[in-house]
């Protein structure tokens, strides 16, 4: 039997239905958490004075935008870390695995279900941030925010960081036997790529288009390989018969 997008879609659809009825996911992960990460950058933005030197202005805007990149890094990590171990704990994993679904299909369904809402939320928050900038920020600050490189970094790194968090989270979830431990580990593991972005955002390493693209390419490669690697780690036997 060949790879089936219909089976990926079945898992994706089921996950979205489940999120919609899960108050913790809906209220905390998808609403409160993103709001926290947008309040800080907007507040930061309003305190920035346009009279700052160009380098200083860039650093402060970079820091504000960095907060926004915490959304694609952190929001999906809890969902991804729950994805396998959570089903195992609920006893729902075995019935799903008795269907013709392949490990790759199951994992891709889980990953896309974490990715799509994350992108919607992260881009929506970025949109709100840009709107607030254009309305409330001083003109000099506003034009610095709307600089092409800032926008590019934000748009490019949002899905790539989310991909990293998701595959690391799912990998932890396949090897974990406790939901809470998996989510805590997933959260910690979602942050390392942000360090490099932070170094760029704060001009600690000289940001350049080439550097951003190289980092983006590395993350893209990781995201693409992550799927196969996690599928290799997905040991049905251990998940079904192993100790919980």
């Amino acid at each position: 039997m060949t790879f089936s997008w219909a089976r990926v879609g079945a898992i994706f659809r089921k996950e979205l239905r489940d999120y919609r009825r899960n108050r913790f996911v809906l209220v905390f992960t998808m609403a409160v958490l993103p709001l926290i990460f947008i309040v800080v950058p907007i507040a930061e933005l309003l305190t920035i004075k346009a009279t700052l030197s160009s380098a200083r202005l860039d650093t402060r805007i970079g820091l504000a935008l960095l907060y926004l990149l915490l959304i694609p890094a952190i929001v999906p990590s809890a969902l991804a870390a729950y994805s396998v171990v959570g089903e195992r704990e609920q006893g729902t994993l075995e019935p799903v695995l008795t269907t013709p679904i392949r490990s790759e299909e199951f994992l891709l369904g889980k990953a896309t279900a974490a990715l799509v809402p994350t992108l919607v939320i992260a881009y929506a928050m970025f949109g709100i941030f840009l709107l607030a900038t254009s309305i409330f920020a001083q003109p000099g600050v506003s034009s610095a925010v709307f600089k092409g490189s800032h926008l590019l970094v934000q748009l490019l790194f949002t899905p790539l960081l989310a991909g990293w968090s998701i595959w690391v989270g799912v990998a932890i979830s396949t090897r974990s036997s406790d939901v809470r431990a998996a989510q805590q580990l997933g959260l910690i593991a979602s942050l390392p790529p942000l360090v490099i972005v932070a170094l760029m955002a704060t001009n600690a390493i000289t940001p350049s288009l080439r550097l951003a693209l190289a980092l983006g390419a590395a993350l893209l490669l990781f995201d693409a390989l992550g799927w196969r690697a996690v599928a290799g780690m997905f040991n049905r036997e251990r998940l079904i018969a192993g100790r919980r």
Partner: protein, 338 residues
């Protein structure tokens, strides 16, 4: 992918085998040869061999930890066997064949494992998509009717009782019109009425030619439903029709009850055709071991009349499947003690 035979009104019509191709009926539904599964040093089951024909209800009995569920999981391609071979629904068992085998079978685990925040229909919809069923809405409706749950389709599974969840699990198990249906303790936790409904569903599936592999602790259920049973206790201890197992394990016995104890039972019973021996129980009761009760009973009756006894009953002692089971398990316990 799977053309349905479940009808909109809940009727189940023949036969899922046609949907899976005529080759299915060429061999047995399940052919297991010297199958063994070990987790490290621990043997889950060892050297298990049996065959199950299409349309057969095959009971798989054994004490807790005997390896029943592990056998189901192995045949369902969730676990890889340590050694041995098997063919499931016409396909040799191998990791590569897993998705193809799983498309033709269905497994209902002991705990139905439903998504509790999703409704009954949404749970089934997810599985219909996983099986690639094209007429999903009709099939879901028919499956729910088959388990009398059509009116609960919109209820979240979390709001259902254990028995109702079990029925949703059953509806999910017949959704893909499987050629082989593995049911792991399907009536566990169900009240007698719900259990009867499950039995009716099993019988309906059998009539359509579906092979049912039933693990159960309810021996009266196995006796009533199964064409053949196997008793597993890590190794396969016994396999056959319930009647044959009784005969294989126990000598046949005529229970005789007379109003007053016989003066000389030896004289009364000795030399009677078909009677091998006798023991005495409470006053006036005798258990005669016989080769064939129908041959022995008339002679016994005549002998008792000649001995001047007032006969109250002469009847064959019925051993249940439970007696067979307990006899075997007790033997194993004794052997382990030694």
């Amino acid at each position: 992918m799977v053309d349905g035979s479940l009808q909109e009104n809940g009727t189940i019509l023949p036969s899922p085998l046609a949907a899976w191709g005529p080759f299915l009926t060429d061999g047995p539904a399940l052919a297991v040869e010297h199958l063994t599964k070990a987790f490290g040093e621990r043997l889950a089951f060892s050297d298990v061999s049996f065959e199950v024909a299409y349309g057969e209800v095959f009971g798989f009995l054994g004490p807790n930890g005997a390896g029943k569920t592990t056998t189901v999981r192995t045949l369902g391609t969730l676990l890889s066997p340590t050694s041995g071979t098997a063919t499931v629904a016409g396909i040799p068992l191998s990791p590569e064949a897993g998705p193809r085998i799983r498309a033709r079978i269905s497994i209902m685990p002991e705990s139905p494992g439903l998504y509790l925040r999703l409704t009954v229909a949404e749970n089934l919809d997810c599985f219909a998509r996983l099986y690639g069923i094209s007429d999903a809405a009709q099939r879901i409706d028919a499956a729910l009717r088959a388990v009398n749950l059509a009116d609960r389709a919109g209820d979240p599974c979390g709001s259902l009782s254990k028995g109702l969840r079990q029925r949703v699990g059953l509806a999910r198990a017949v959704l893909n019109d499987p050629a082989v249906l593995f049911l792991d303790e399907p009536t566990s936790g169900l009240d007698p009425v719900a259990s009867r409904e499950v039995h009716e569903l099993i019988n309906a599936q059998r009539e359509r030619g579906v092979t049912i592999f039933l693990t159960t602790h309810r021996l009266e259920e196995a006796e009533r439903l199964c064409d053949r049973v196997a008793i597993l206790n890590t190794t396969l201890r016994l396999i056959g029709r319930p009647d044959a197992l009784r005969q294989q394990l126990f000598r046949r016995v005529l229970d005789v009850r007379v109003r007053s104890p016989l003066d000389d039972p030896d004289r009364a019973f000795q030399g009677l055709p078909g009677v091998d021996g006798w023991t005495s129980g409470s006053p006036g009761t005798y258990a005669l071991t016989v080769t064939d009760p129908e041959v022995a009973a008339p002679g016994v009756a005549r002998a008792l009349v000649e001995a001047g006894a007032d006969i109250l009953t002469i009847a064959e002692s019925r051993r249940s499947l439970e007696d067979v089971y307990l006899e075997l398990v007790d033997e194993d316990v004794e052997a382990a003690r030694r």
